[in-house]
């Protein structure tokens, strides 16, 4: 098939718009959408210092690449944070990719490991409880990202969450009946505590497949392996369900997230308290007496 704009060979058919894109026009479309999103949502202010969380996968590598492009047009500082959870046979591959692409982009980076910060790798944390790997990893990773971003005096923490990730989270929180998490949105803690660096997700309206095509089309260095603990997560099954729905009814993923974004302010009002307590051990904000991080670390 040919590109709807220039008649070169198409690499992507966007079902929601009915447009075919060649490599060049796909890039133009993708970059424009990214720049427009950052501008319209006012995600990054002039001269702000942004931390970008980079795992070495296609999402965070694409995000770092696009933020570097944005820096050419708009003045802001950027540093990357890489978390080494200690997952044997997996994290070493993604770490190598992250370092190689960040060096190519001339973005300085900091590596924080579970081993150095918590005395244990994720593999050791969950050796008798692999089913909990994703929640343990998520809590400790977010803790380290926030801590390092704060140490670096960053006022934003950018992550590479895509449309598929966001839609999956909406469904998962609802399926678990976790109405608090479903209702609070990404910057709830920021609103109640200065200890939290504001999170931004500039790729949250980009389909995962489009990000893969962009990364391949631009020959970005990224690792495409799957975490060995992913098999224990609910996310994979929910992802397959959403893929099936998207296949049957194109734009399902967009509609899900944009619908959620519309009702979020009302959910916030109904279900989220205006203030919460502090963790008895570390002082970080928490709904319970002891925060999840301290519970995992056995404090």
């Amino acid at each position: 098939m040919k590109c709807s704009r220039c008649r070169k060979d198409a690499i992507y058919f966007q079902r929601q718009s009915g447009q075919y894109y060649c490599g060049d026009h796909f890039n133009t479309h993708f970059i424009k959408k990214f720049m427009r999103g950052v501008r319209e949502e006012q995600l990054i202010k002039k001269n702000e210092k942004v931390a970008v969380a980079v795992s070495g996968g296609k999402d965070s590598i694409t995000l770092a690449y696009l933020l570097k492009k944005l820096q050419l047009r708009y003045p802001f500082q950027m540093e990357a944070i890489i978390i080494d959870e200690g997952i044997s046979g997996y994290r070493n591959l993604t770490l190598d990719a992250a370092k190689a692409q960040l060096e190519r982009l001339e973005i300085s980076y900091h590596i924080e490991s579970f081993k150095d910060n918590f005395d244990k790798t994720l593999d050791i944390f969950v050796e008798n409880n692999k089913e909990n790997a994703c929640s343990t990893c998520g809590v400790l990773r977010r803790y380290l990202l926030n801590k390092k971003a704060r140490e670096l005096s960053c006022t934003k923490l950018a992550t590479g969450h895509n449309l598929d990730d966001e839609g999956q989270s909406v469904i998962m929180n609802l399926m678990r009946g976790d109405i608090i998490r479903f209702s609070r949105g990404q910057n709830y803690y920021k609103k109640i505590s200065d200890k939290f660096v504001e999170r931004i997700k500039p790729l949250r309206y980009f389909l995962e497949k489009e990000i893969v095509i962009f990364a391949l089309n631009n020959k970005l260095i990224f690792d495409s392996s799957e975490c060995p603990y992913a098999v224990y997560a609910m996310r994979g099954e929910v992802g397959k369900f959403l893929d099936k729905m998207e296949d049957l009814r194109p734009t399902t993923k967009y509609s899900l997230l944009s619908g959620y974004d519309k009702i979020l302010p009302a959910l916030n009002k109904c279900f989220i308290p205006e203030s919460i307590g502090a963790c008895k051990i570390c002082g970080e904000p928490t709904m319970d007496g002891v925060c999840m991080g301290c519970k995992i670390l056995g404090k």
């Binding site: 996968g57 993604t94 995962e208 495409s224 296949d247």
Partner: protein, 64 residues
């Protein structure tokens, strides 16, 4: 016959198909989950295929 290669699993097979969509439907896989690469170039799902083509399938989901 078309050679189909699943890049992540490093598995390959041969199949009769006139286009990429037909490969997806014959293998019961969803187009949301793979990027199709024909003879080294990324292609759309309605790209036609001919005898001797190699179609690599790049798995979209990765990470955790």
């Amino acid at each position: 016959m078309i050679k189909v290669v699943f890049l992540r699993d490093k598995k390959s097979l041969e199949i009769e198909a006139d286009n990429v969509s037909e490969v997806f439907s014959k293998l019961s896989i969803l187009k949301e989950q793979y990027v199709a690469i024909k003879n080294g170039k990324i292609v759309c799902e309605d790209e036609s295929l001919s005898k001797g083509d190699t179609l690599e399938l790049f798995t979209v989901a990765s990470g955790g």
